[in-house]
Amino acid sequence: MKQEISALMDGELFEDEVGYFLDRLKQDPAARKNWAAYHLIGDVLRQPEHIHCDLSAKVRERMHDEPTVFAPRGHAAKQKMRAFALSAAASLSAIGVVAWMSLQIGPEAAPQLAMQQNAMRPVNAHIQGKTNDYLRAHQEFSPGTNMSGSAYFIRTVSYGADEIQMRNNPGKQ
């Protein structure tokens, strides 16, 4: 306990420990005496010419006549709540933006693109068959369809009718 008091007065305890040891100080008069003695030592080391007698007892005596103070909830607590509300709002907006962006490039985006391409360029059934063979053979190298992030790297390619004929009959030129 004494070692923790020493660290507490130096501001070297972790936040979760501070509350616990302040509670202990509240309950233990001997611990409060150690707190006072350690502070006296520090003051003597810093300014030995300015040491005067202890006023704690006198102040405590006078405080007996004072009503216990209670701060209305609203100063420190309100400020903390405001900071918390602002950070929560900022986090929610950030999550919203990320969600909206991911929907923009979500799984629906790729089929829509594909449908557009199909509408613009009807594919020859023969070519489709060949392409399917090609895709089946290289399926293991293709990214999963559920990896929407990869849509960015996928590029659609099409051939003109002349090029297809040349590819199918390379000898007829």
């Binding site: 936040e15 509240k26 007892a57 209305p72």
Partner: protein
């Protein structure tokens, strides 16, 4: 958690009705505040009364303390106002007409002032406390003494002391505690037998 954050936690406890938390703040700041007030009020008995008054005023005003400045800065302002009001009520002028600087108040060197007006009894008690602390310090092993001095005089953090002394932070924490405890052990008989337990 820093020293100022610990003060803020103590303040919040007082604001929730915990008077013991205010005791801890008094124990911590009474000599600093006393030094400050003795710049205005030269009679040591009066300065003592004004210091007590300042603490009571601070206690009453604590519900309005919002933590926008450090607790000690706020307390010192109360101390200065209490001292000035005390002088006004006795129709005396404050020894300084310039705005008061808290940092300056912490570091002022006016030792003669207090000695001039201290009672012989208070002076003897102060001297005994100082002698015991300094003698105890001289008896400490070098590593404990250095760790305590780096903390109290230089104001270094445990991490900085660990770097200077080339040892882990845990060792610094232990050395500072052992140094304080060794000095406190020699000091306790004096603190407990002083007249009216005034230390």
């Amino acid at each position: 958690m820093t020293d100022k954050e610990v003060d803020q936690q103590l303040v919040e406890r007082v604001q929730r009705g915990d008077k013991h938390a205010f005791d801890l703040l008094v124990a911590k700041y009474q000599r600093k505040l006393g030094r400050l007030i003795s710049r205005f009020v030269r009679d040591s008995a009066e300065a003592e009364d004004v210091t007590q008054e300042a603490f009571i005023k601070a206690y009453r005003a604590l519900p309005g303390f919002r933590g926008e400045s450090a607790f000690y800065t706020w307390l010192y302002r109360i101390g200065i106002n209490t001292a000035k009001n005390h002088l006004l009520s006795n129709k005396r002028r404050a020894p300084t007409s310039t705005p008061f600087d808290v940092d300056e108040a912490e570091s002022f060197e006016d030792a003669g002032l207090l000695r001039e007006v201290s009672t012989p009894e208070n002076e003897l008690m102060s001297k005994q406390v100082v002698d015991v602390v300094q003698a105890s310090l001289q008896q400490l092993p070098e590593d404990l003494r250095s760790a305590l001095m780096l903390r109290e005089i230089e104001g270094l953090s445990y991490e900085e002391i660990a770097s200077v002394m080339n040892c882990p932070v845990g060792t610094v924490r232990s050395r500072i505690f052992r140094a304080r405890e060794a000095v406190a052990e020699n000091l306790r008989p004096l603190l407990e037998t002083s007249k009216g337990n005034r230390w």
